[in-house]
């Protein structure tokens, strides 16, 4: 079986899967995962899962919500990652030290009505700054944002891990704005989804995937060093970068990699954020959206 994991091979959503693959957790749990497909963007990830014989996908929550809203026959069956995994940065020496300094600055985000826009605006709102006070610039992807930042075309950009660690290693200096989202409520980033058909037919396998992933997360917390090594190999990244990146994420948010539980409040706060920029119509009918039957007991307990 194949599964789809958004940004597998680059961003760190896929770490538990890489570990589970390496450690043979999938087999042990009763599912034979042959490959992990990556794809760019939530829209494509969901479509890929629906088109192929893929069992399961971990995709961005907004993509899952929109797809379900538009009548795609899928359900959210497990939690993925929660909270933030990236830094807001500006150029070193830039005088942005307090919320008031943000006024009139140029913020870069990936695409209109995306998570990055929603979260940025939510964070600003938490400091009583409105969209009208700043300049929001869509630029496609993070890389372009960094380039724009360096050339003084924008003032604040977002860097997710492991790009941040990689840049740091390469000697690029940024000034992080850690305080920016202090007051932001926690939110869910990615979730596990499956088609109704798979849910009906492949229940045990889905369960196994979620269970294997959970064990991956446990392992990650228990053996951070080895985990970093596994990721370095799977993602073809330098070991110090992965070590650093995993560290950073844990520092920011110890429970970024959830154990699979469906954390309602976190999902709700993401939905609210999206709703506030008009990317999602509220309210969400969670009943029709979720199918919690596969969340492993072990995960449910830790919640």
């Amino acid at each position: 079986e194949d599964i789809v994991v958004t940004h597998y091979g680059s961003l760190l959503y896929g770490v538990p899967y890489a570990i589970a693959m390496e450690k043979g957790y999938f087999k042990e749990a009763g599912v034979d995962i042959k490959g992990i497909l990556t794809s760019k963007g939530g829209g494509t990830s969901v479509r890929n899962m629906m088109a192929g014989d893929t069992l399961f996908a971990e995709v961005a929550l907004p993509a899952a919500l929109s797809a379900i809203k538009e009548g795609f026959n899928i359900k959210i069956i497990s939690g993925g990652t929660n909270g933030r995994s990236s830094f807001w940065v500006t150029r070193p020496g830039e005088a942005i030290d307090k919320p008031a300094d943000l006024k009139g600055k140029r913020f870069v985000y990936s695409r209109p009505k995306s998570v990055s826009e929603a979260i940025t605006l939510s964070a600003l709102k938490s400091w009583d700054i409105t969209a009208a006070d700043v300049k929001m610039i869509a630029i496609g992807d993070f890389g372009a944002g960094l380039t724009a930042l360096e050339h003084n075309k924008v003032d604040v950009a977002i860097i997710p891990e492991p790009i941040y660690s990689q840049k740091e290693k390469a000697g690029t200096k940024y000034k992080t704005l850690g305080w920016l989202d202090e007051k932001l409520p926690a939110y869910a980033q990615t979730v596990g989804i499956a088609t109704d058909e798979a849910i009906a037919k492949n229940g045990p396998k889905l369960k196994a995937v979620i269970e294997a992933r959970r064990r991956g997360v446990e392992f990650l917390h228990a053996n951070p060093k080895e985990a970093a090594e596994i990721v370095a190999k799977a993602y073809n990244l330098p070991l110090d970068v992965t070590t650093n990146a995993i560290d950073n994420i844990k520092k920011m948010n110890p429970t970024w990699w959830s154990r699979g539980e469906l954390a309602m409040p976190l999902m709700q706060s993401m939905a609210d954020a999206l709703g506030s920029v008009g990317a999602l119509q509220l309210p969400v009918d969670w009943k029709a959206t979720l199918d919690p039957q596969f969340v492993p007991a072990a995960a449910a307990k830790t919640q």
Partner: protein
């Protein structure tokens, strides 16, 4: 024959251009810095290292395999369709506007349709590649066929050639330079299309490498892959040019007679 593949003279000028391109690259690097363009030397070193790694080969093979299939479809199908559309007036008038209009839509938007038709995996990649490359071949061939000297066609009819023979023995050789122009564009676009296919869903292939590199903002790897592909495409182009030159050497117009 002058113009053999080993002739130094025909390589000198393109090499000069290549050197200027590298110089331009260096200049761009100076302007834009590492976050947009890494410098030529370290990039090439990185590329060399990448190619050396054992894990690189499966990626290359994956893309190569898809590309070759797509290329065969784009070239073979393109010339065939081009000859038919150009040679048969009614078919051409009916089909051309539909083809061209569909082609003008960015292929990315057709991704769901491709998924529907070909599913996920190799067939979809091949289809994506062929879809990009075939129309230039069709258009160049078709247009050339339409403007073929009518007397050649009349001669063909007088010799009772079948439509297939007319196509193969008259229309194709008569339009070879245009067909090759189309093939050159088609070749490159097929390559691009195949990689685009890998951007959407993959676990292997150059497109996969490129996508993760973009995600990671790993400019050096992005450029390395771009250079690899460009060098390959340029080499293939030069080869196509050389073949083209040999094939229609008799019909080739003389160079301008300079006073």
């Amino acid at each position: 024959m002058r113009g053999g593949l080993l002739n130094l003279r025909i390589w000198r000028d393109p090499i000069l251009v290549a050197i200027s391109l590298v110089a331009l690259w260096q200049v761009l690097h100076e302007i834009a810095g590492d976050s947009a363009v890494t410098a030529p030397a370290p990039t090439l070193a990185h590329l060399w290292e990448m190619i050396g790694q054992a894990r690189f080969l499966p990626h290359l093979r994956e893309t190569g395999l898809a590309f070759l299939q797509a290329l065969a479809i784009a070239c073979g199908g393109g010339v065939l369709i081009g000859v038919v559309l150009g040679g048969h007036k009614l078919t051409g008038e009916v089909a051309e506007p539909i083809l061209v209009a569909l082609y003008s839509v960015p292929k990315i938007t057709l991704y769901p349709v491709i998924l529907l038709l070909f599913g996920l995996g190799m067939p979809a990649k091949v289809a994506f590649g062929a879809l990009h490359g075939i129309i230039p071949v069709v258009l160049f061939t078709m247009n050339a066929v339409r403007n073929v000297n009518r007397t050649y066609l009349r001669a063909g009819r007088a010799m009772r050639l079948t439509p297939a023979q007319t196509g193969w023995y008259v229309l194709v050789p008569a339009t070879l330079p245009e067909i090759f122009s189309g093939l050159r564009i088609g070749f490159s676009l097929t390559l691009l299309g195949t990689m685009l296919g890998e951007l959407f869903a993959s676990q292997r292939g150059l497109g996969f490498l490129l996508m993760t590199a973009i995600d990671l903002h790993d400019v050096k790897t992005i450029l390395s892959i771009a250079v690899l592909i460009s060098v390959f495409a340029i080499g293939a182009n030069a080869a196509l040019l050389a073949i083209d030159k040999r094939l229609h050497r008799g019909a080739a117009p003389e160079a301008h007679e300079k006073p």
